[in-house]
């Protein structure tokens, strides 16, 4: 399984903070994004077609090409604004 996390305004727009997806179907982060985009316009705009999308896999910065394996934690979030 893959653990998917959404933060900040993504969590609000998408209406959830986390979910699990079967890991077999997804070789890369990009595959996950493509599948999520099929859920509708909101998902497509927030994730797949969002140039500001930030991605982390297992707490490290990642991108669409990052390879996935079972048990990975994938996080999607907007540009950070701490400090």
């Amino acid at each position: 399984m893959l653990e998917i996390l959404y933060f900040a305004n993504f969590r609000e727009v998408l209406g959830q903070s986390q979910e699990t997806l079967p890991s077999d179907n997804f070789k890369t982060v990009g595959c996950v994004l493509n599948a999520l985009a099929e859920r509708g316009e909101q998902w497509k705009m927030a994730l797949a077609e969002n140039n500001n999308l930030q991605i982390a896999v297992n707490h490290d910065v990642a991108d669409r090409a990052t390879a996935l394996k079972a048990g990975d934690e994938i996080a999607f979030f907007p540009p950070v604004t701490g400090g």
Partner: protein, 163 residues
């Protein structure tokens, strides 16, 4: 004791003197301590702010802050350093973040504190949400100027200071 003892992500406020004393404890070779405290403004983008809420990504945040801290230690000769970042709801004038660095001589401490703050702004997974006096809310947008501030440090290590 957390996994990274020199990085704290906490709801509670902090006391600068207490933290600086801890930073200096056990070091007799410190000649300079530089600290930066970030605080909540009551106005942002021309709008009155009544509450600022800080969200973070537990686990990744601590790791990102520790990575930045260690990068500073690689780049400058430092005796000790620490980062405290608050989460949850804060009011105008509250303290949000502390970066404190000690070194033998002042230049390393000044530069390292600046470096850590610039990288924290653009790399640590925190998000700010503002509440206005009428109860409406707004997520704070990332600033291009923060990215530019970080980019000034990308040049290879040399004697020149960033512009």
């Amino acid at each position: 004791m957390s996994e990274f003892p020199f990085v704290k992500v906490q709801k509670e406020d902090f006391d600068l003197t207490t933290e600086i004393n801890a930073l200096r404890k056990g070091h007799k070779d410190i000649g300079a301590v530089v600290s930066f405290v970030g605080t909540v403004r009551d106005i942002n983008e021309g709008d009155d702010i009544s509450v600022l809420k800080l969200e973070h990504y537990p686990g990744m945040t601590e790791k990102a802050l520790e990575t930045i801290r260690l990068q500073a230690h690689e780049r400058w000769s430092l005796q000790s350093s620490m980062i405290i970042h608050r989460i949850g709801e804060m009011m105008p004038c509250d303290q949000i973040v502390l970066v404190a660095v000690s070194s033998r001589h002042r230049e390393a401490a000044f530069e390292a504190a600046h470096f850590i703050m610039d990288y924290l702004k653009t790399n640590a997974p925190f998000w700010k949400k503002e509440t206005f006096p009428n109860g409406e809310t707004r997520w704070v947008d990332a600033r291009i100027s923060d990215k530019e501030a970080e980019a000034r440090w990308h040049q290879p290590l040399n004697k020149e200071k960033p512009a």
